[in-house]
Symmetry: C2
Subunit: 372 residues, 2 copies
């Protein structure tokens, strides 16, 4: 893979997502958020709604509001509390309440301004409000920029499971302004890099090399490195989603590290570990399981673990106890008829879904001293 | 239109709904519900869920459970309270809670057994559970059989409006067993006939004639008349939905009578008038408005009113006050940028959506002494 090292693009990079009449573009650049031109081709309407949270809004909402001012007569802002703990029904209901109180109709455009939680909940609100209104994703975390804002998955959590209630609702456009990453807390930047590493692991071994050799530039938030890494990640995600929108098969490989990761998140309580941290550690565990099944060698496990560690991500899971891990993983959305299903590495840069029997999963859990 | 007057079909009638990879069939007959063969071509899964209510379940749930017994290892029944007042989030949440507690996965099939409320809420649950699981509609009211079970519209109500939160989620199959209508309360049968009359009014003037001349057989629940009327209604609905799944244009004509009707329902509080009663009266009002705009003559208004009255449906709206009606109709989902939109009759058997200015709407409201 060649990733040209231009320090500045002439215009934004555009990654198309091809989904028939639901196709859209991902715009990637620095300084896009506050530019009216970014939004010029969006559907017109009397009103739009900016959904954001109390952390992100003070940083970007005024710039967005100014940029949208010439396009929408009425701009409503719905501010939600920050955090995964609020990705729930009462918070979703606040969006519906505001939209109905403000007289929003079927043409109203919803802008999701924030990280993955905002994208998921605002996207789900757009999916359900009057059975669907247009949505534009403006992700402001690296994790949302490379993953959750692309592909149309929206959801809220249920007390019995993460992302259990949701919809596929493709956005009209995704606007990735890497300038928003300059204010991102260090820990969230590192968590976002976990998903970037995932793309290398499951799809593009050369990209994994590139990530490893550019980790310093990524961690120091060099604009050109951020643009390159977001662009390549989005290209991979767009390709996979375009081939399998509703996760009938291929798309599931993007859940590499997520079965262990979700168990960690749910087991500790949402928000104790960041999603990307749990996925980072989950990838190390899934790589170990891939090794145990004879798909990859220990050298590749060591390399992947090294890259994850170099991003400052945890590689040792919390000691929840083997039984608790198994119970959580059997309740995973990917589980079918009680069988645990894992995305495993077949070879460097390639992954597939496998049903795995409990004894082998237990070996991996014990290897990491995950027992309580 | 010719409607052969066979008293018994050899097998069920099949009306196809053509929606590409979301196509499905409507099966219409007497005695289908309890026959295992009815379900033979449905997706297999470890579990299925029957969603019903406390009124319908005692009548049909055991027959359905027996018929499904050879197809699904686990059959869970979720019983909801009866009535439009419960088409809300807490009731929807009960379905999610049960499905998660029972370990339902992405392959679980949801059977909606009941009237329009059950179809809407169970359909919406299926649309959102793990971002979508298969749904089969088994409508047990005439209204649901000819209207809400076909076309994929699902929703719950919001305190500020009916059906405001929902999704388009096409069923895998619709099973219409007209034998279920034998136990339907008289008032609900009549309410269902309102939607049947609607199809004649907006699409097929000869069908309107047929309905008028067969009203006695319909009201006495003659099986062959019921099969004929459901079949022709479903054919019309399937044709309209196939041409315009997401209500971009044509499908909106099926809302004839609904703008006034929803205002009546919301204004009185859900459940005071049945949906079909409100729609029946709303059609009389919409016909009057069509006349005022010069689209149809007074003779056609009188004929439509006569048919609606012969079904035992109300033709005089409640006196909510003109201002209240206008406020309710401006909040209707069909309203765009505050303009009221009505489905109006252009000529017998034909309808289209029109934006109408307040003064003409007020004339209609005053004609019916709808002022408080």
């Amino acid at each position: 893979m060649t990733l040209p090292d231009r320090s500045r693009e002439d215009g934004p990079s555009i990654v198309p997502v091809s989904l028939g009449d639901r196709s859209y573009s991902i715009l990637i650049g620095a300084g896009l958020l506050g530019s009216a031109g970014t939004y010029a081709d969006l559907p017109r309407a009397g009103a739009c709604v900016i959904v954001s949270n109390e952390t992100v809004a003070p940083l970007f909402v005024e710039a967005l509001r100014r940029a949208l001012g010439s396009l929408y007569e009425r701009i409503h802002v719905v501010l939600l509390p920050d955090g995964e703990a609020h990705k729930d029904w009462p918070t979703l209901q606040r969006i519906f309440d505001s939209m109905l109180a403000e007289g929003c109709d079927r043409s109203t455009v919803v802008f999701a301004l924030g990280g993955g939680v905002i994208g998921d909940i605002a996207g789900f609100a757009a999916a359900c409000y009057m059975r669907g209104v247009p949505c534009v994703q403006i992700p402001t975390t690296l994790l949302a920029q490379v993953d959750s804002s692309v592909g149309g998955k929206t959801a809220i959590n249920h007390p019995l499971g993460k992302n259990m209630i949701g919809a596929f609702h493709q956005p009209r456009k995704v606007i990735v302004d890497v300038a928003t990453l300059q204010s991102l807390p260090e820990r969230e930047l590192r968590a976002g890099i976990a998903e970037v590493i995932k793309y290398g692991a499951v799809w593009d071994d050369a990209f994994l090399d590139w990530i490893e050799s550019h980790m310093a530039q990524l961690l120091s938030r060099q604009t050109s490195a951020l643009i390159q890494v977001v662009k390549r990640s989005c290209e991979i995600k767009a390709g996979v989603v375009g081939a399998d929108e509703r996760e009938g098969g291929l798309r599931a490989i993007l859940n590499f590290g997520h079965t262990f990761g979700h168990a960690i998140e749910t087991g500790l309580g949402y928000g104790t570990w960041l999603h990307g941290e749990a996925v980072g550690c989950g990838m190390v565990m899934a790589a170990d399981l891939s090794l145990r099944l004879g798909f990859i060698d220990s050298e590749h496990v060591a390399r992947l673990t090294r890259v994850i560690r170099s991003a400052g991500l945890p590689t040792q899971p919390p000691a929840l106890g083997t039984e608790r891990y198994l119970g959580l993983m059997r309740a995973d959305k990917k589980a079918v008829a009680g069988h645990m299903r894992f995305v495993l590495l077949d070879r460097p840069g390639h992954a597939a879904v496998h049903a795995v029997a409990a004894p082998q999963v237990i070996e991996t859990l014990e290897r990491f001293a995950a027992d309580a």
